[in-house]
Amino acid sequence: MIQDKDRKREVIVKRVAKELKDGDLVNLGIGMPTLVANYIPEGVDILLQSENGFVGLGPTPKPGEEDKDIVNAGAQPASHVTGAAYFDSGMSFAIIRGGHLDVTVLGALQVDQQGNLANWMIPGKMVPGMGGAMDLVVGAKKVIVAMEHTAKGEPKILKQCTLPLTAAGQVDMIVTEMGVLNVTPKGLVLTEIAPETELGEVIAMTEAEIIVADDLKVMEV
């Protein structure tokens, strides 16, 4: 089981990056999902969507090279790649809701074996709001949850989410530092297990029921 925080992140984002295909339009959530952009396989040309209003999000500009009119959805200085296009929030969410986004990668507070996702509030504690998450999860062709397997040692992958949902039954895949889980009509199928990790550990750290794939592989990261 991987213990190092940085190594966990690296395993997760590297594995998620392998899901992206040439030509994909991808939205990466704020935080860890953003790092996926650093590991896109060679020969794979993707476009990143920024829900504040463009496709073709580029790398963070060097200090002193920021353009005040280009920020990402976290209001951080950003850039655009050659061939980018800007638009308004109406078009941005037409793209998201309309099924034009191939993949969205985002974090979760909880996710369950029905593919339910909770990531926008903890009643009475923390209510950041859903921002674009509800639309992203409903609209994207493929929804990948990228997160650490547990929070303070407690499972985040549950039989049934207890927090208010972001969307019902929309998650397709969960990638953590322990493995890769696919959401199927039968339940959660563990298709890959992380290096240095025992199957028993994954099962112990997951509240949801896990179906182990017949051809369980080791995550390539």
Partner: protein, 214 residues
């Protein structure tokens, strides 16, 4: 018709208790001079329609800090801790709306639609109090128009007729808010003569704009 006015003249359109729509995404594309002028005038009891409540020292976030608003209709408040504090202490009503739904509700108001059906929010608390309509076997929520008394817009280039061009990611909600208010006030980063913006490059046509400030 001369739409160019001083900020003081523009402020005459803004009164206590109004619903005000403000462009911008986390403060980017927000008319900061107008924001500050509203604070200076001490306008109270605003219902704010905006994507978010920005930051305590930026954009509409300053209205939250200065208690100009009594209700916010936004998709996100996580970047402004003061919004969360006032919400928890019941000083401020926070109506959270999914971002895409917010965009469509404002657009619907501007476009004369009675509402739109969206799949966003189905199976969540967002369903509460809303009509659910099934189309071709799929459930949608009926989301209603959202209109303001005044919209405050930030334009990168504005001509003296009121045509607006927004640079890069400053466009966001500005185009939508500009269609959905009784009075639209635009703050021009750069004010130019009529005709200097190519007619095909105009993003908000002059017909939506009532007042231009610099």
């Amino acid at each position: 018709m001369n739409k160019t006015k001083s900020i003081d003249q523009a402020l005459e359109y803004i009164k206590d208790g109004m619903t005000i729509a403000v462009g911008g995404f986390l403060g980017v594309g927000t008319p900061e001079k107008l924001i500050d002028a509203v604070i200076a005038k001490g306008v109270k009891d605003i219902t704010l329609i905006c994507n978010d409540t920005a930051f305590p020292d930026k954009g509409v976030g300053k209205w939250v800090v200065n208690k100009n608003v009594s209700k916010v209709i936004v998709s996100h408040i996580g970047t402004n801790p003061e919004t969360g504090r006032q919400m928890n202490s019941k000083e401020l009503i926070v109506d959270l709306v999914p971002q895409g739904t917010l965009a469509e509700r404002v657009r619907a108001a501007g476009a004369g639609l009675g509402g739109v059906l969206t799949p966003t929010g189905i199976g969540t608390v967002i369903e509460e109090g809303k009509q659910k309509i099934n189309v071709d076997g799929k459930d949608y929520l009926l989301e209603l128009p959202l209109k303001a008394d005044v919209a405050l817009i930030k334009g990168s280039i504005v001509d003296k007729k009121g045509n607006i061009y927004y640079n890069k990611s400053t466009r966001n909600f500005n185009t939508l808010m500009a269609t959905a208010a009784e009075t639209v006030i635009v703050e021009a980063e750069k004010l130019v003569e009529i005709g200097e913006i190519d007619p095909s490059d105009v993003m908000t046509p002059s017909i939506f704009v009532n007042v231009i400030v610099e």
